[in-house]
Symmetry: C2
Subunit: 447 residues, 2 copies
């Protein structure tokens, strides 16, 4: 049917063993989110262009759809592919508000598309995993703590390098800047948001030139941004800077509650990091970013925050708090560095075939294994047993089931052990049930 | 963020309780496919237009992508959204042939798009679930039996009305027609493929006018098409028609093997149905269609067959056999008739909150439940208990956990039973672990 192959830059695809890493991550995320009562939804891939274009900056990268057989040549459908999951979720909430129960917790794991220029090495199709809690009219602050904790637990459970969830609160920044007497806190926040890309001394200059701060104010702004603690001791460090403002006090109290609420989760670092600003205007309180150890060049892999106005229909406002994990960004990077799985198939057992006449008998053995929940496949050809074992090895299948004159036997092809077996009751050791995520020594090819 | 809602015809979306029906089906399919050793892959959503347009008819319905910020106004990207999963799979096989192990079994559950005209009530975005086995150079016939059996087991396991898998073999049709002396068997097959839409007497006329058959040949063609058996007794019925041809004999033998191989699966009907032709030229042997009891107006919900040439790079040919289930078509229809689930959230337990000061204690109880694998949520507000119970009821959450002076108690809000509980060890009865798919009496709204 197809006559040639065409890899496309920006549209990553995975081999079966690599894809297992991704499904393992998706399943771990889903399980964690559901343990916390988050319901899964999917939204359509397209939104009307006018909806997609209300958000400013990223709207530049939308893919617009045209029906090939549209009567008027070149006429667009008025639809574009969504570039994130927040715009469609906000629309879904408004559209179904009468049928949803609030506060509404949802998770959504779907592909998004950005019409980036080719040749930039940027993804044009990638999967995001979002959790949000949205309220009708109001949304208590404790949901900020909840969302932070859920994502911290999820990050801790994933087969990825250690993640650091960095949390701040824009009330701290705005209150501190106002307490300093800065006239335009938003302008200062936009400068501080560049801290990762711009050296501190350059930033001090920018704070004066672009942020409208005095040199002394700029120094205080940078002192605040330097604070980073694993517990709520940041509060006293901020107070030591001698700035006071009601909004600052409120922000410090909120951030301390979030950090305290994330204590005791093994496998992830959760820090109060006062340099986190998030450039986007719609965040109004808690803000999140996340770095992955050894993959700092990826920037933040998991970001979000509180918005007091996720959606509004004019009469009712829907505040929300959420985080979005850039799943493909992480998976494609790790897979590129050799993260894969030890099987290219889900099969735990290869059922050998002695000769084609006895294929039905091998099928019957496989049926017994499956009735017991054991994934297996029957050898494609009645080759010599050595060849059938190599067939299993090449796919990473750990066991081969043979029919012998004395009855069925199972061989662990890693150890060579071969024992009598009752296929109706045999189950593999728990570690062999599913393919395992492993680090291969070679960097694997992927697009 | 969003300011208005816009339902779009042809892009169905589900409410959370309805979405659970869909995820339940996806999980059941995945589990069945993996038990048979099929590996999951995903392909990118887009293909180069020239790839999409090689397949003829459906190419008319492609959505073409254009980058909104493309320098030349109206210039397309040369990319279109895939309209099925076969074209991308064939391309994936060619692109990765050196890294895959053949025979390669894969399943793929993804959205596809068709640029249908609006207002036709047709889906423009929908999910398909495909299984295929593909070989390099050759592919033994027993994989036809395998694919039929795997999909039959999957259909039997789904929470849907009873399905009938109708199987035929194009060698039977072509051999029979050739044995009758018909010059253009393809033309006759295309007419027979209309049997569902056109009355038999009209079809006899069409067989003569469009199929080039004599009246006597047309009668035999219709007699063959009328044969339908649940076992391999169709073989003698065909022989009784007195036509012989080597290809017919081969086809009868193959179909009998497939039908025999699908015996003994409860919950699904598998029939040899000799009217099934599949209009598409690329099928070369076994062909599948599937009807759903009570939903015959949907046509075939699950179709496929054997193609001797799934893909070719000029040197090597890749034959395949596969079936594609129209997941959205089934789910959206059933949900429209009231199929839903008994919860809108995954939570089994609502942990009540006595007052905001004790929220941390309620959180701690929830953490104990989750450590035990029990999905739960903590009440959003410290309302009166009656209100918290109604909160649970509205979401279908079956249990509420209270702190009392003598310790935690759990209430089954369906029965009203309330007992002491140790949240560190409590688990719900198996039937309550996950939401249940149920038939609601009212037809639910959906787009």
């Amino acid at each position: 049917m197809a006559g040639k192959s065409s890899p496309l830059s920006g549209f990553p695809e995975l081999l079966p063993a690599q894809r297992f890493v991704e499904t393992e991550i998706v399943e771990t995320l889903s399980r964690t989110f559901e343990l916390h009562g988050f319901a899964n939804i999917e939204t359509r891939a397209v939104e009307p262009l006018d909806q997609l274009l209300t958000k400013g900056e990223t709207s530049k990268e939308v893919y617009v759809l045209r029906r090939l057989q549209e009567d008027e040549a070149g006429k667009d459908s008025g639809l574009g592919l969504h570039f994130d999951l927040t715009v469609p979720f906000a629309r879904y909430v408004l559209e179904n508000a009468g049928k949803l129960s609030f506060p509404f917790r949802r998770y959504q794991i779907q592909k998004v598309w950005r019409g980036e220029r080719p040749q930039q090495g940027r993804y044009r199709e990638f999967t995001q995993a979002d959790i949000d809690v949205v309220g009708q009219g109001d949304l208590p602050f404790h949901h900020d703590i909840e969302v932070a904790r859920v994502m911290a637990e999820a990050l801790a459970a994933l087969p990825i390098p250690r993640a650091t969830l960095q949390i701040n609160n824009r009330k701290i920044l705005e209150g501190f800047y106002r307490g300093l007497g800065i006239a335009d806190p938003e302008a200062v926040m936009r400068v501080v948001d560049k801290l990762d890309k711009v050296p501190a001394e350059k930033l001090a200059t920018l704070l004066v030139s672009d942020g409208g701060a005095t040199a002394a104010q700029a120094e205080s702004v940078l002192a605040l941004a330097a604070i980073r603690t694993e517990d709520s001791s940041f509060v006293s460090q901020v107070r030591d800077l001698g700035v006071s403002h009601d909004l600052l006090t409120e922000g410090l109290d909120e951030l301390a509650q979030v950090i305290d609420g994330c204590q005791g989760i093994d496998g992830v670092d959760v820090v109060a990091d006062l340099r986190i600003a998030r450039g986007l205007d719609y965040y109004t309180g808690t803000v999140f970013e996340t770095r992955l150890a050894g993959y700092e060049q990826l920037g933040s892999i998991c970001s979000g925050g509180r918005y007091d106005r996720l959606a509004s229909d004019g009469r009712t406002t829907y505040p929300g708090v959420g985080i979005s994990l850039g799943l493909s960004r992480v998976v494609v990077s790790l897979v590129g560095d050799g993260l894969t799985s030890d099987r290219s198939v889900p099969s735990v057992v290869l059922v050998a075939v002695s000769d084609e006449d006895s294929r039905a008998a091998s099928d019957a053995l496989a049926t017994q294994l499956r009735a017991n929940g054991v994934p297996c496949e029957v050898a494609a050809a009645a080759d010599k047993f050595g060849k059938q074992i190599r067939y299993a090895e090449r796919r990473g299948i750990p066991y081969v089931l043979f029919s012998t004159e004395t009855g069925p036997q199972i061989k662990d092809i890693r150890s060579g052990d071969q024992v009598d077996v009752d296929p109706a009751t045999w189950t593999p050791p728990p570690a062999d049930v599913r393919p395992r995520v492993i680090q291969s020594n070679e960097k694997k090819e992927q697009q």
